[in-house]
Structure formats: C-alpha cells, structure tokens
Symmetry: C2
Subunit: 338 residues, 2 copies
C-alpha cells in the first residue's frame, strides 16, 4: 500500500491540528482509554481533514496480512448501502487496507460465491450484509483466521459479530407516532419476510399496535419484493376495500419511494412514516416523516470492530445495536379522519 509520492500527514500534524499532545492522538488511534469524547472527536476530525493514516504495512506483513478486506452488500447502487460503503472505506483506508466490494442482489448463492472469492484472495476480513440464512460455509475461513463482521443483518447458524439498527424499536416508534396522531387502522408495507430487518420491523409494528390494543387484520400488512409493481399492488390493497388504512408505515427506502410515487393517484392521502431517510425528504410537500437509520454509523462501527478483531481482540462475538431516530416533517403528523 505504500507509495513514494508526495508527503504524508504524520501523527504530529494531527496533534498540531487538534491542539493536543502526541500521546492523545496515539490513544485515539489505538482506541485506548483516557481521552474525553470531545477531544477524541477533535482528533478524529483532524485525522479526516488531513487524510492521516496509520502506517500499518510493516505490522501487516509481520502478521501475514494482505491489507485488504471484502465488503459484501446487497446493492452498491442503493443510497443506503453506498453511504455504508463510504464509511467502511474510510476506516479501511485509515488502517491502510484496500477494499473489495461486491453486491449479492439478495441472492444467497451470490453472497456465498462472493465471500468465497474474497477469501480465495486472502482478504484479512469480511464485512457482510448477508442475503443467505446459513453462514456455516464461512466456518473454515473463520477457523483459518479470517475476521468477519455482519452488518445490517446478523449471521445465521454461526456465532459472529454483528452491527445492526434497532429495526424493531424504530418500527415501534414510528407506529406509536401514528397512533398518537389518532390513527387506529395503520398499514405496514415491508420487504420479503425472510429478510431479518423486514421481519424485525414487522415485529415492532405489531408490538406497538398490540400495546395500544389495536387489532391488525391480515389485509393491513403486505410483505414482499420491493419492485414497483408489487409495492403498487400492496398499496392498492391496503387503501381500498371496506376498511382502508388511514396511515402507513413503509419498511425501507425503496418501498417509501414507490409509495410516494403512487400517492397522487390514490383517492385520499394516508399519513406516512417511512423507514430510512431519503435525500430531499424535507423538500417534499408535506415533508416526509421518517425513522432514520444511521448507515454511516453502521459501516463505521462494523469496520472498527473488524479491525479490532484483526488487532487481536478475541473476546466473544458481540452484537451492537444502533438506535434509529424519528424525524417528524409533516407526512406522519396528519390527524386521522373522524
């Protein structure tokens, strides 16, 4: 990874920019205690601004590392995963590591092929948004020393680190928000139920409805692929018939987008809370109320955990859950009719 061109920012430069001592920079870089959060933030900002990287090459080689990691996503073209990727790339870069990327397109077989192809290139570790429901195929690789952190969705059938959004909690909060605005008949349009995040969000929705004593009829829920035709059919079903919903919780950015495109054609406008934030969401009229995830935080936390493992952390696998955030902007605050 080392090249001969130009001059590299040093730890000294970072210390000067952040107005701290060298030792403080070293502590932040090596994730050691004894630095206040505010100071650590300042050091990290200086690191980003200067483009500082640890020179890990010598250490890497000593450990038999290739200084590369594989990032396996559902779809690099999806804004959620592209922001997650940017964060993983930034952490990898900081550690002097290159990044392989690949998209599974929600096919377990493709996930497995890509993961094995990355391993065949002897990546030091994998950050995986899994598509499959059985990750035992990774066991020989993990035993051989490859690190793996799952992100967005957990590993199945093996014990592994995972960094997840609080999907159930977020969906619960979004549903409670609609209930607070007087809605009783609230619909949920989610992704395919075998996807972990989709199932968790459905669970959160059901829990909030149950806690409020509200029944959930089968015709209030639609789970399926997120292509335009399927979402349109779901929306049609939930908003017609004798008991149309007065409000909707949509399960991810792709579903929300399709619902937004179809709203003008509906005979009435249900209140809407979308899971995942969208660019321009605040510029719509009404603004789009969302349960926002933190895709950059997911990517950063997963990559940090991966490099901690590569640095020798052998504590048991852990699951980190990042909170979601409800952002009211108008579409979810319409009061229910009647």
């Amino acid at each position: 990874m080392t090249t001969q061109y130009g001059t590299r920012p040093t730890m000294k430069d970072v210390a000067a920019r952040a107005r701290v001592g060298l030792k403080t920079v070293s502590r932040v870089v090596n994730d050691e205690p004894g630095v206040t959060p505010a100071t650590a933030d300042r050091v990290r900002s200086a690191i980003t601004e200067l483009g500082f990287r640890r020179n890990d090459s010598a250490r890497m080689l000593r450990k038999g590392r290739t200084a590369s990691v594989g990032l396996l996503l559902e779809d690099i073209g999806d804004p959620f995963y592209s922001v997650l990727s940017r964060a993983v790339e930034a952490v990898a870069r900081f550690h002097g590591s290159l990044l392989f990327t690949g998209s599974s397109a929600e096919h377990p077989q493709r996930e497995r092929e890509l993961a094995m192809a990355f391993c065949a290139r002897r990546v030091d570790g994998l950050v995986i948004v899994p598509a499959g429901d059985d990750h035992r195929y990774l066991l020989p690789e993990l035993a051989a020393g490859t690190a793996a952190v799952f992100v967005d969705r957990p590993a199945e059938q093996i014990e592994a680190d995972a960094v997840l959004s609080d999907s159930a909690g977020g969906a619960r909060e979004g549903t409670e928000h609609l209930i607070r605005h007087g809605h009783r008949r609230i619909g949920f349009v989610g992704d395919q139920p075998q996807i972990h995040t989709a199932a968790e969000r459905l669970r959160g929705y059901r829990e909030a409805m149950a806690a409020a004593g509200l029944p959930v009829d089968p015709d209030q829920v639609a789970m399926g692929p997120t292509d335009p035709a399927t979402v349109a059919a779901a929306l049609e079903r939930l908003t017609s018939g004798p008991h149309p919903v007065t409000a909707l919780l949509t399960g991810n950015n792709r579903i929300t987008l399709e619902v937004l495109r179809r709203l003008p054609a509906l005979p009435y406008r249900p209140a809407l809370v979308g899971f995942d934030d969208l660019e321009l969401a605040e510029l719509l009229v009404p603004g789009l109320t969302v349960v926002a995830q933190d895709p950059a935080g997911l990517g950063r936390t997963a990559a940090d955990l991966l490099f901690r493992r590569l640095d020798g952390d052998t504590t048991p696998p852990r699951t980190v859950r990042l909170p979601t955030r409800l952002i009211p902007r108008g579409s979810g605050e319409t009061v229910a009719p009647g």
Copy 2:
C-alpha cells in the same frame, strides 16, 4: 473465482429463457455482429435474470490474469457514482472478475496512491474517475499490460480510453431551454473549474448564452467547492444586487440539492434546471427539471471497453461520449418575469 456450490446457469439456460438459439447467445456474449438490437436486449435481460456469467477463469489464468479490476471513484457515497459502480460491478461479474473500489475524494494524491495500490495487487485493469491532472504516473503500469479506462472525466497528459457524458452539450441544452422560456439573465453555479466536467458545463452554458446574444457578467457565474456554505454564498450573490438572475443552471447533483434547500429562504423563486437527475425529483413541487446523465451507461460502457482491451483489442485509445437528456418537470419552465 470458481466455487463448488450449487448449479450455475449455462448459455443453454440463457438461450431457453430468451427463446433464441445458442449461437445468438454466443454472439451477444462475445459482442459479435448479426443480432438485432431487440433480440440482443432480450438475451441481455435473460443473462441478468439468470445471473449467467462467462467462465473466464481458464482463459484468465492462461493469460496471467488475476481476474480483478480496480474502480477508482470520487466518492462511493455519492448516488451518481454508486449507480456507476453498480454498472461496473455487473460487467466485471459477468467476466468473472472481482472489484476493488476506492474513493479519491477529489484529491489527486489519493487517486494516485489508490491507483498504484491497485496496480501493486496486480489488477488486470482500472476504471478511473480521475481527480488529478497528470496521469503519466500510470505509464509504466500501462506499458506492463494493465488496461485503463477513464470515465466521467478524461485522462490528462496520457492517451487513454475515456467514456464521458456530453457535458457541454447538456449544459447548452439546459441553458437554451431557459432562454426559450424568456430568461435573459441566467446564472450558472458550478463545481471547481479545474474539474473537467465543471469546465465543460460552464463552456456549454457560455456558448448557449453567446449564441442567443446574451451577455454573461462575472456576477452571474459562481464556480467552487460544493459544500453547503459555498453554494449558499454563491446563491446569495447571484440572486441579490441590482440585477438578480431570473433563472439558474446548477452544475451537478450536490449543487442542485443545496440550491433546493435554500430556495424557500430566497425573496423570489428563480427558474431552475439542474445537471444530474435526483431521486424524488418528479415529486417536488414544482417538479425538478434536469439535464440527466446516464451514470449506469457510463459505468457499463467503460467496463465493456476495459474488458474488450483485456480481450486483446489494440486499436488506438478512443473517447466515447454519451448524450444527456433534458427532462422538463416544472422548475425550468417558469416564464421570466416582465
């Protein structure tokens, strides 16, 4: 890249799905003539749906290949580049090749480091969105047989393949559109002038203004970084003073986004044409008129060209220019006051 799991779709499966003969599939796969565009489209759809890939491994190894390519972007987190990446990944996958990705963040030094790091991993080829203005550092790699295709912006100081949008033509068309709606004082807010696409779009804007006999005062043009503060200052400058603009052409998706966020705070609403399409653009009120590029087409064409080079195409370097498309949606069709 080959793994032992599951069954792979074959050329036969593709032929059956597309309802054509094996020979036709082979022609499409090998880019040979004699297939109508409609049939070729059907074959390509079947290839995508089935996830068919050529088995290039044996051929690759024979040629001393590593079956990996490096993709160097400005920012993987930008929706424009994430869609471009998805297209490059699909072509690479089709050829059985893995993808390294990295973001230069518009730093020439980082571009160079990443490109050299990819080359040190012996990638077969590079697809590069360049940040720098001197690519002679690549000459030894190119001489050693590494292929390189530039995309979005051309190579500088070396002869190399490039796949570009018609930035000047697109900006000309967007400006003419505003002129046709009666605007005479039209502003242009662009990215930093040393960026090729920014300079080309400024040129197209100036050409359209000159062709219509309209003067361009210095205070109608703002070129600079695309961070919120800089764009806000530019917008403030162009819309205040004795001769505020009545219409705006914005130079890329990030600038358009910032301008949209600031519009509500302006004393009046200038007509707006944005370069690059945005998700949700048609759902804004008024809808956002854009000059749309084809990021998927850029990525696909660049990657196709790269693999053609790897397949032995030794014709001189070429520049492919993809057309842009004006999409009127409301914001650019406001008639000028007076």
